[in-house]
Amino acid sequence: MKMHLDLLPDFLRGTAFLGTGGGGDPYVGGLILRQKLEEGADITIMDPMELDDDDFVVSVANMGAPTVMVEKIPSAHTMVKCLRSIEREKGRKAAALIAAEAGGINGTLPMAIGAMTGLPVVDGDGMGRAFPELQMCTFGVYGVPASPIVLRDEHDNEVIVRARSNLESEWFARVVCTRMGTKSEIALYSMSGQEAKETGVLYTTTLAMEIGRSIREARETQSDPFAGLTHYFETSRDKRFCAVLFEGKVVDLLRETTQGWAIGRVRFEGIGESTGEQLEVRFQNEFLVAQQGGRTLAMVPDLICVLDQENAEPITTEGLKYGQRVRVVGVSVPPVMRTPEALAVFGPKYFGIADVYTPIEALV
């Protein structure tokens, strides 16, 4: 499959959806990608099953604060240099790129790098959504080391982190990233084609495009975008569960900055079918858990997305404001993200949530 300008708006909306409130606004990443496409770039989206087992596959991404990325725009050129450094480190030429996360800006940037290097971009990623920390990739959960991680800035400063665990990789890389201006271009999770196929969350690039298309088509036909999304997920490749958890407006918003995170909760007062009820959603950059009364309706790693009540446009945690009318949608994640090993890395316990993980389809 080829990436086209026509597909871009759907894709960007889909990456915002999979950002589950975080991941950085895909606007800037989308502009970089659009520029490449307007210049006539040829970008191949590769079916993971077309990877040879011994192909060399690399993740490229931007690490840092979404707020910094809207000023100090991510450097596609520097990301290519990160890729070249990893290739030198490993003594192998990359055969394909794969996104570390499907949601937000890191869903779009690998395609821009694909445009510049001619490398295909695998249809899939390492998170199936957005997460705040780099060890939260399924690649790492199933044994692929995050390191060596190449971090670079625009001055050609380069730091390579080699750590014994992925959690420690995150700790050291975060410090370097901060020193580089709280934004680093990075290459990480270099792996074999076989590992990419076995440890990745597959077909999430297509998923993003199809989510975006579902929302757009509902708007074009003036039909209900939420019914459209539910139907789409139920009939999608991995037959996902999707439900509107709540319809309401923001009546209380508490944000705190603790240890560098945007941690908080947002409370919605019910309208429409949810009249008389209240829903509380907690977040750490991304939405983590949705509770109505004392009852949990969805929790990480299942997707909790806050969408505009009317047009289903995804809303980020930074974009939340008092009075917004929204629908909160929950979507199940594929089995690869629900194993005990996966939940140990990015399940509710890691985020300090008391609940034991229960799949959304058993809660709603």
């Binding site: 975080g22 606007y27 800037v28 502009l31 970089i32 520029q35 840092g64 604060a65 979404p66 707020t67 910094v68 809207v70 000023e71 100090k72 725009i73 991510p74 450097s75 596609a76 050129h77 821009a112 705040p132 625009e154 001055h155 901060t178 201006g181 709280t182 407006k249 009546v251 944000r255 705190e256 900055t257 603790t258 560098g260 995170w261 945007a262 908080g264 007062e269 309208i271 009249t275 950059n285 009317e310 945690t317 930074e318 974009g319 404001k321 008092y322 009075g323 009318r325």
Partner: protein
Amino acid sequence: MRIGVDVGGTNTDAVLMDGAAVVASIKAPTTADVGAGVVAAIEGALARSEVAPETITGVMIGTTQFTNAIVERRRLVPVAIVRLALPATESLNPLIDWPHDLVDTIGRNVYMAKGGYEVDGREISPLDEAEIARIARDIAAKNLQSIAVSSVFAPLNSAQEDRAAEIIRNEHPEAQITLSNEIGRVGLIERENAAVMNAALVSLSAKVVGAFRDALKELKIDAPFFISQNDGTLMSAAYVERYPVLTFASGPTNSMRGAAFLSDQQNAVVVDIGGTTTDVGVLARGFPRESAVAVDVGGVRTNFRMPDVLAIGLGGGSLVRGDDAVTVGPDSVGFELTEKALVFGGDTLTATDIAVAAGFAEIGERKAVAGLNGAAVQRGLDTIHTMVEDAIDRMKTSAEPVPAILVGGGSILIERDLAGVSTLSIPERSAVANAIGAAIAQVGGEVDRVFSYEQEGRENAIAQAKDEAQAKAADAGAKPCSIEIIEVEEIPLAYLPGAACRVRVKAVGDLADS
């Protein structure tokens, strides 16, 4: 006494106010040169009230001229753009997301130079003064007179932009320079876009502000005059001459502020029903609630302070169709209402005809609508009221019923109670709410910056931001004793060390009498 003027696309309205009393109001046609229409409107208001020009202490003008220039791509000048950022930001050049016809109008004169700041205040690169001087000479050689300068994190530190402007002025003395830090918020692309649009408007702003000045001179009004900006506060005419972009949303803002004044309410939903559209906005403490999302102006993404306004296709000229399921709008006969509506002898059923048939208003020939099916008229009214109710409901911030204020010529369409509304006011003189909004505007100051709570402490940081906002309001002409803080917003910055927080504070005050 004060004069408020609203220069719109069709009409120029003027009101004369003595303290809180409206002494006279008048509508005159807007003229191509702007000035003659302003003169006619003000003369009319003065004549009606027999007030001498010498007693006028201030003139406040609201105008959509600059917005229209961008939207219509007219009367813009070519711009040179200098971004201080290299080696950062090379992935996205200035003007990247602009409509092509607008870029054709202002040219593609883009210069990327070393400079910019990190979020923690370090320089990305020091300014290369020789490089800036070279660029300035090149701009002068191309005979470009208006220049926009942007740099990374300029809202955190403006020193590089300021120094670059000095160097440019030295090499190219007649150039007019817009600096991004003086206009926008965090968000390089949006702030730079605003600076470029501003630079494209400098020639028009000189003409328009000059026309206002000449009009007042002709009228022998020797009082300071001000122009209203997006958030309902005033800027001095000299400031608008430099920053015309800041007027972009002053129209809906003035109508909301005027509605607040006329109805004596500070917290309410304002429904402005015109000929084609209904604008619904929310007043919070007497000021319009701002939009949190990026707003497009003429196809260009900006992050201006803009009121959060919902526009729906309902107005006095809206077309009415169907007998059972009656639809109203979104299309309208617009300015042809007085030819096409049934009550004016036309053949098109409009919302105004429905209102006349129902006995809500006496407009035109009532006989012309006597034959309409009474049940269908009622269903049309049902539709109109439901549309307004839904729009109000979408803009409300709580389920509780809220007060609403109805302004604009189309307010005759509403006669029944509205669901979700506690009290509905339809003030007198609501047709000139815009000019009144301009007349009563306050002046404001705003701070929008990233603080490190770990280093400075939250209390200290917010106190510092409040002090700066108050000082800015005073600089803008507010009476110090009247200045109050009307907005404090904290946005913690994810992933940043040191408990970094973006703090936005807005202070406003009454204009000092001069």
